[in-house]
């Protein structure tokens, strides 16, 4: 029983780490957002698990019951879920705009384009013409 009592928290850690891994290891921005929302829900489980009392009922007062689970985590998480979807929507809107201006949502490709732009503008500042500027792919070879 000693170890089973912490099972919920361990699963929370596992889920959080899966989300974390998706966020840092994957290049695709949509995938990153999905990972972020897995990370976020793991925190929700953590709060709600802490609020649970064995054999209690949901915190809706009724004379027939006298043991209720803790209502405070419920309040915090309820609002967090709605705020979470609002911020996710904002993230998705940014992803859509990135796709429109870069033609890609893979992080590596976006960074390559940014580096190339930066190099071109720096070389131009030193007086090179645009057509003489090497592209980053040529430099790689």
């Amino acid at each position: 029983m000693n170890l089973i009592g912490l099972y919920n928290y361990w699963i929370v850690v596992v889920l959080m780490m899966i989300g974390f891994y998706v966020v840092i290891a994957h290049e695709n921005l949509i995938k990153k957002l999905v990972g972020l929302s897995i990370f976020q829900t793991s925190v929700f489980f953590f709060y709600i698990s802490m609020g649970k009392i064995s054999d209690a009922t949901p915190p809706i007062l009724d004379p027939r019951f006298d043991l209720y689970s803790n209502p405070l985590p419920h309040v915090l998480i309820l609002t967090a879920i709605v705020v979470g979807i609002a911020t996710t929507a904002l993230g998705l809107a940014l992803v859509v705009r990135i796709q429109e201006s870069y033609g890609s949502i893979e992080e590596y490709e976006i960074q390559t384009q940014d580096t190339q732009d930066q190099m071109e503008s720096q070389l131009e500042a030193y007086g090179f013409r645009k057509k003489h500027v090497l592209s980053i792919q040529n430099l790689d070879e």
């Binding site: 695709n28 897995i38 489980f45 009392i53 209502p71 709605v82 979807i85 911020t87 859509v96």
Partner: protein
């Protein structure tokens, strides 16, 4: 029994999350994350968090999946294979995970009634809210009254996110003109869906209103009701087209209502101040403090419901208009 269900659902969640991490077809990933939300909702129900389960079911399994699908239509379906083997990321994750698990070792066990979290404010809410607020659902009384500031902040965050999406995904008049009077082509043949949706719509709306106004007595409240209402409208939009829905839910109206909900919430707080109480202290709204609390909670939840519903609709419309724009103007 509760613990057994808890175990099974948590294991399902881990499996779903692993599948999400593994797959590179984003459509499958999004559908799996919808399933993930549904399992989460069941888990919340099992852990006595009925209000949270309600919210997760309508937000996570409903609106969130839809928004992801709408953006997939704009950005493409497949993830490119990563070029290198991400061992470093795996290492970081393993080390962090081990440290976190080490941190859980001295936590009070799951379900323990004598855990520190249950000692501080929760007993006060559970014992006194009946006489102070007079609302059976303690979650509602904490949400709208004891922690009213917090909820006002959250409502403003939702509103701000709506503004952000609106300014990022603006719709040109040209796009709207192009779409006028059109119905999504692939939905025109779906007669069964269209007929059923027409019957479902009023029921969904009535249910949303029930959730809104019954939130004091059972699970529910402004956040859930707003999302359910928006889901009904979104269902209608998917089947009958944007320009049909736009006749009823005009852009200006949605924007004014989104701001109006926040104003209603904050306005109730200001009225309380003018009547001699503190900001959002509903006791002074009526002669009897409990009646004042009832009125205050009702108005505040209404403000939340209006803002959440209109912001969710606005966000969905913006994404859908973007796909329309891509259809006509982007190669």
């Amino acid at each position: 029994m509760e613990t057994l269900i808890d175990f099974v659902l948590l294991s399902f969640l881990v499996l779903t999350a692993l599948a999400v991490a593994k797959m590179n077809d984003l459509f499958a990933v999004v559908m799996l994350s919808g399933i993930y939300s549904l399992i989460s909702a069941s888990l919340f129900l099992d852990l006595d968090a009925v209000d949270v389960a309600f919210t997760e079911a309508s937000v996570g399994a409903g609106i969130s999946t839809l928004l992801f699908l709408a953006s997939l239509k704009l950005v493409g379906r497949y993830e490119k294979r990563t070029r290198y083997r991400p061992m470093l990321a795996l290492g970081v994750v393993l080390v962090t995970g081990t440290l976190l698990i080490y941190g859980t070792l001295d936590m009070p066990h799951f379900g323990a009634a004598d855990a520190p979290v249950h000692q501080h404010v929760a007993p006060r809410y559970l014992e006194d809210s009946k006489t102070e607020i007079g609302v059976p659902n303690v979650v509602t009384s904490v949400l709208a009254s004891y922690r009213g500031y917090d909820t006002l902040g959250e409502t403003i965050v939702v509103f701000t996110a709506g503004i952000g999406v609106t300014s990022l995904l603006r719709v040109s008049r040209r796009t709207k003109r192009e779409e006028r009077g059109k119905v999504p082509a692939d939905m025109q043949q779906q007669i069964i869906l269209r007929v059923v949706a027409k019957w479902m719509l009023p029921l969904i709306m009535v249910f949303a209103l029930y959730v809104q106004f019954h939130g004091d007595y059972g699970p529910g409240g402004g956040f859930q009701a707003g999302v359910i209402f928006a889901a009904g409208v979104i269902l209608y939009t998917m089947l009958y087209g944007l320009s049909t829905t736009r006749k009823v839910f005009r852009r200006e109206m949605l924007e004014y209502l989104a701001a109006g909900g926040v104003l209603l919430y904050a306005g109730v707080g200001l009225v309380c101040m003018f009547l001699g109480g503190n900001f959002l202290d509903y006791n002074v709204l009526r002669h009897d403090p409990v009646h004042g609390q009832h009125l205050g909670i009702l108005l505040v939840e209404l403000g939340v419901g209006i803002t959440v519903a209109t912001v969710m609709m606005t966000i969905f419309f913006k994404f859908t208009w973007r796909t329309v724009k891509h259809k006509y103007f982007v190669k």
